[in-house]
């Protein structure tokens, strides 16, 4: 494995950026780096879970995006805390959170597949429905998160949060899902060329429905966990809309669909959490933080140039001076440019 092969892995950049930001934090604060990493590892999993769902949706091809995740997180937070308090079981609470996510995603799915509404509008509308329910729930909400679950989320043996390990396992599951299951391969095929996938006998509608429902479920799970970790609030999920899309893109997943990079979501997630820490350390405002993040996403999209597919065709037109001797031994470097 040479350097070139490593550099061409799309997920490497998120981790590289995370390490860079980590080094800067250490240099500025002058404290031990272990604590920073441990803190990042306890915050990043929430972003990774919702990011994995967003990644699957974006992989389904051009136009597919789930902008309801922020509202789902907020709503699922209230519902799971409320249900957990009234039933006395944190597990039932989490399941209720996931259920709420699936429910909201069902609205989006029906609108997208049944009424042919563009996904961005459909999920926006479903998100609005969720938001209004959240607001009515938030009025006079008194229940407090389950203390047992909160404790569990704060357990850090050897500085590594239990949740990070669990979410790492979940990421592994998503990798297996994409590589080894019929659904995963179908999703990648649909994302590359929907017409071709349909002609190849893939049930496109079912694949897309599943994808949105999984994204909703993962957002619901995020909301349930996050509400237990922090506290339910109406703007619990707000920052996760931009962030979930950003970690997917920075993680190396093709914005045009057909290629998903689950590991990249981790790298980009850690990068974002550390970046938050850094700008807090420097003392920037939230507005400046968002400006920085938005700029980063645009920058990455600019670098990626729409991904391999577009890059491949672009390099065919690019003028490429070649040494006259290079003939047969060139091994496909123009397809990865």
């Amino acid at each position: 494995m040479n350097i070139r092969a490593i550099v061409s892995r799309p997920w490497i950049w998120g981790f590289a950026a995370a390490v860079l930001v980590w080094a800067i934090i250490m240099a500025i604060s002058g404290q031990g780096g272990g604590q920073t990493v441990s803190l990042a590892l306890s915050l990043a999993p929430y972003l990774v879970v919702v990011g994995l769902g967003q990644m699957l949706v974006i992989t389904a091809g051009p136009g597919n995006i789930d902008v309801s995740v922020a509202s789902i997180i907020s709503l699922a937070g209230f519902v799971s805390v409320g249900v957990a308090a009234s039933t006395g079981s944190a597990t039932v609470g989490i399941l209720a959170g996931i259920g709420v996510g699936v429910l909201v995603a069902t609205i989006s799915t029906v609108a997208i597949l049944g009424l042919s509404v563009p996904p961005i509008i459909a999920t926006l509308a479903a998100g609005l429905v969720a938001s209004s329910v959240t607001l009515s729930l938030a009025n006079g909400f008194t229940a407090v998160p389950d203390p047992g679950l909160r404790q569990l989320l704060n357990v850090r043996p050897a500085g590594i949060p239990v949740l990070a390990v669990a979410v790492a396992a979940l990421t592994g599951l998503v990798i297996v899902l994409l590589r080894r299951t019929v659904y995963g391969r179908s999703l990648l095929a649909v994302g590359q060329n929907r017409r071709a996938a349909e002609r190849a006998g893939i049930p496109v509608a079912r694949v897309i429905a599943t994808t949105y429902l999984v994204s909703g479920a993962l957002a619901g799970l995020t909301g349930a966990l996050l509400a237990a970790y922090i506290a339910p609030s109406a703007d619990l999920g707000t920052r996760y809309l931009l962030d979930s899309v950003a970690v997917v893109v920075i993680g190396g997943t093709l914005i045009s669909g057909g290629r998903a990079v689950p590991v990249g979501v981790w790298g980009a997630g850690l990068f974002f959490i550390l970046l938050d820490g850094l700008v807090n350390l420097v003392g920037w405002s939230t507005a400046a933080q968002n400006l920085l993040k938005g700029g980063l996403v645009l920058f990455v999209l600019f670098l990626a140039g729409g991904g391999d597919r577009a890059g491949g065709t672009a390099s065919r037109f690019r003028r490429r001076p070649r040494p006259a001797a290079a003939t047969t031994t060139t091994t496909g470097d123009n397809t990865h440019g």
Partner: protein, 502 residues
């Protein structure tokens, strides 16, 4: 019109020792070619012989690795790469059209010809120009400049593509890459009439086509491309189809009659169990169509392009209406492989197995060992160049099409629908694939095959000929012949005009 212009005019574009490599594929191994003013040069060769690449180099879209391209005697494309302004007067109409599907026809004209349109009022100028040229080239085309390209039929898109290429203030060389693959005979004839007007005015035309008879009837000279180099250049006069096929190194594809009759002797279709049936199907593009597909039968849908054959395939692919019955599973082989065939990010293996994967899987989990075995089998059986691990987009069009065909047949589908899949595929590959279809039918698979090439129908057990959404004839066994199909599909209106086309 009958004067084809000067035989040996000034060379317009010259290629000298041009080579080009993509990834693992050596597309051009050293091409020497000269195109002279006022002539039609036909270029023939198998798919994968390097025709498309050569065209791209000659049109200045791509740099060559070695050698040089000369336009009017000036070297313009060496290793440093071509410059657009040197190639202004060289235009190319692509086999898979280069039009932007979301733009209108007039807007597409602007995209490729903006240097010869006014800055203000370009839309009107482009509309006028394209309407005039379309009327000249393809009378009765049915395209208006305000149509979105996506809404046009394949044939209309091809017409617009050719028109787009020809619309420029000065045209020295027009490259036509498989221009008639999706055109009907009428449109093809009027296109070639226009080509002669062009050459009479001193423009050179480079014609690439698999239809050798067509090339011979239009071209002044014929160049044969084989394995990335020009292996022969002849004057078209006195040259026969057989001669060209031999120069291309092809074993001439003669449908083996013995095999066919043997297959038919097993049963003429009436006593076979019915796999699919249409009973008086009526709808957009279809009127009272009844047809029947038996197990292990190859059923052809013939006739001119766009007479309802694709609508029948669509009905069989998604049998939602009550007048359609399909028993068992189906697989589809699309003809428009860029739009509805290829999955561009994947390798040959991944593209090939995507349909069969579902049948092989257990509880939604793939079985990689079985998949690999199936892929290995098919790559070998169809001799797919580049092997299983090559990226699908690295392959030539013919090899891509093999993968798409293999995708359908690798599945367990009992009914395979072919949507004119062999357009632009070389003779060799076609012969292989015809054999494959017969083998699979012999094993009990049913095939419904729409083709715009009537000669292909000889490989069918039964052929339904379509005209204007109706079945106008059902031919069985010995009745199936090119002449017969042509006669039936043109029946009333064009029976006399047909002779001059052949």
């Amino acid at each position: 019109m009958d004067n084809r212009g000067p035989r040996a005019g000034e060379p317009v574009v010259i290629a000298k020792g041009v080579t080009k490599t993509y990834g693992r594929t050596r597309a051009l191994t050293g091409v020497d070619l000269e195109v002279r003013a006022g002539e039609v040069l036909g270029l023939v060769g198998h798919n994968g012989a390097g025709k498309s690449t050569l065209m791209r180099v000659l049109a200045g879209l791509e740099a060559c690795d070695e050698g040089a391209v000369l336009v009017h005697g000036n070297e313009v494309s060496g290793a440093a790469g071509p410059r657009a302004e040197n190639f202004r007067a060289v235009r190319m109409a692509y086999q898979e059209t280069s039009l932007c599907p979301d733009l209108t026809v007039a807007e597409n004209i602007w995209v490729s010809s903006r240097h010869c349109l006014p800055r203000l009022g370009w839309r009107r100028a482009a509309s006028d120009a394209v309407r005039r040229r379309l009327d000249e080239m393809f009378p009765g085309h049915g395209v208006t400049p305000r149509d979105r390209v996506e809404d046009l039929s394949l044939a209309q898109r091809q017409m617009v593509e050719i028109t787009r290429a020809s619309l420029v203030d000065r045209l020295d060389l027009l490259i036509l890459d498989e221009p008639t693959e999706s055109l009907g005979p009428d449109a093809a004839r009027s296109l070639y009439d226009y080509v002669r007007t062009l050459t009479a005015a001193g423009t050179a035309v480079l014609l690439i086509s698999h239809r050798i008879r067509e090339v011979l009837s239009v071209a002044d000279r014929v160049a044969v491309l084989r394995d990335g180099a020009v292996t022969a250049e002849r004057f078209a006069e006195g040259l026969g189809e057989q001669d060209v096929l031999e120069l291309m190194g092809a074993h001439v594809a003669v449908p083996s009659d013995r095999e066919r009759t043997a297959a038919r002797a097993a049963g003429d279709g009436a006593d076979r169990p019915v796999v699919a049936e249409l009973r008086g199907a009526t709808g957009p593009g279809l009127r009272e169509v009844s047809l029947r597909v038996g197990a292990g039968e190859v059923v052809g849908l013939a006739g001119l392009a766009g007479q309802g054959q694709q609508e029948v395939l669509e009905r069989l692919w998604r049998p939602v209406r009550r007048d359609t019955t399909v028993v068992g599973t189906r697989a589809y082989v699309p003809g428009d492989r860029q739009r509805s065939g290829v999955l561009p990010l994947w390798s040959v293996a991944e593209n090939l197995i995507v349909t069969a994967m579902r049948g092989l899987a257990r509880q939604g989990l793939r079985r990689p060992a079985e998949e690999r075995a199936a892929v290995g089998d098919w790559v070998e059986r169809l001799a797919i160049r580049g092997g299983a691990d090559a990226g699908i987009t690295e392959l030539s069009g013919g090899n891509q099409q093999k993968v798409i065909v293999a995708r359908a047949f690798a599945s367990t589908a009992e009914l395979v629908l072919l949507d004119d899949p062999f357009r632009g595929v070389d003779v060799h590959t076609k012969t292989d694939l015809y054999g494959l279809i017969r083998q699979e039918a012999a094993q009990g698979r049913s095939v419904v095959w729409y083709s715009s090439e009537n000669a292909e129908m000889a490989h069918c057990d039964r052929v339904y000929v379509f005209r204007a959404g109706r079945v106008v004839a059902e031919l069985v066994g010995e009745e199936i012949s090119e002449e017969r199909i042509i006669a039936v599909s043109f029946a009333e209106s064009e029976s006399d005009g047909e002779q001059s086309n052949e």
